[in-house]
Amino acid sequence: MLTKNKIRFIIEIIAKKLVLLIIIVSTTTCVVNGTTGLIVITNLSDRKIENIKIGDTVLTYSLDRGAKYDYWYGGSLIGKIKADGVDVIRASYGYVDIENNNFISFYKDNAECHFITNYQYNLDIQKINDKYTFTANAGYKPDSGNSDITEVDFPAK
């Protein structure tokens, strides 16, 4: 039989552990590296966007107008971007023109996308010319071994 004091004692123990957990979670910050990638989605349109997915992976079920959502992942995310409430889905596609030391890039509609670790990708939802447009921009890599040069990855394949 649990007495009031015992229940209070158990609640105190759970509460202390919960506080510790919350403090650890809130103070631990992730960085993009060889085992971790980051997708930052910002809804800059005037309506809520729902069921944002890459392939079968749900990134978030709902994103209010003006809201930003960070999705950290390990391993790669492969598939087409899907979202309820958008008219156009486009992803950055391109390659490096080594000879001319330049990037050549453009957007592909409804493309198969690969999001890999070691990169951060910014995905923006905007109303452009009355169409709700979901754009996956090129990803930036923070470190490239000995070169120290930031590299770019185009998610559309």
Binding site: V19, S45, Q126, Y140, I149
Partner: protein
């Protein structure tokens, strides 16, 4: 103890959103070294590969700088001839609520004539995009912080 838990839960559940009273400067450090960026009196430390969100609640103008061997470039206007955004190497910028600004830190390792390696961090303060705007239809959909 209960009050602390409630406070922490409330704080963890509260999320900011860009609106008429709130703007966002989102910093992404894609270089291999950490960097300190000063936005007016506010100082942001961003580790290599890290991100940093600075939410603000009033439009403001300030000087922007970064430590180390860095150069700061601020989006100033759209160049119709080149069809691209022009970045000015200046120190003053303005930021408005209801807009989202991205700051990209890029690493660059250059070898000079004497085969000496020099590491630079290029800080690009990009144009702000208005929340709830209609791109190509509304003139104020984009704001250039260096204009």
């Amino acid at each position: 103890m209960k009050k602390i838990i409630v406070l922490l839960l409330v704080l963890s559940l509260l999320s900011c959103a860009i609106n008429e009273n709130t703007g966002l400067i989102s910093i992404r450090n894609s270089s291999s070294s950490s960097i300190n960026i000063s936005i007016g009196s506010y100082k942001a430390y961003v580790s290599a590969g890290g991100t940093y969100d600075y939410w603000f609640y009033n439009p403001f103008s300030c000087s922007v700088s970064a430590d180390g061997n860095s150069h700061v470039y601020i989006a100033s206007y759209y160049n119709d001839v080149l069809g691209d955004v022009f970045y000015n190497e200046t120190i003053s910028a303005s930021f408005k609520t209801n807009y989202k600004y991205e700051i990209d830190v890029i690493g660059l390792n250059l070898t000079d004539y004497y085969s000496t390696n020099k590491f630079y961090q290029l800080v690009y303060i990009n144009q702000g995009v208005k929340n709830g705007g209609n791109g190509l239809r509304e003139k104020d959909n984009i704001h250039y912080p260096g204009e």
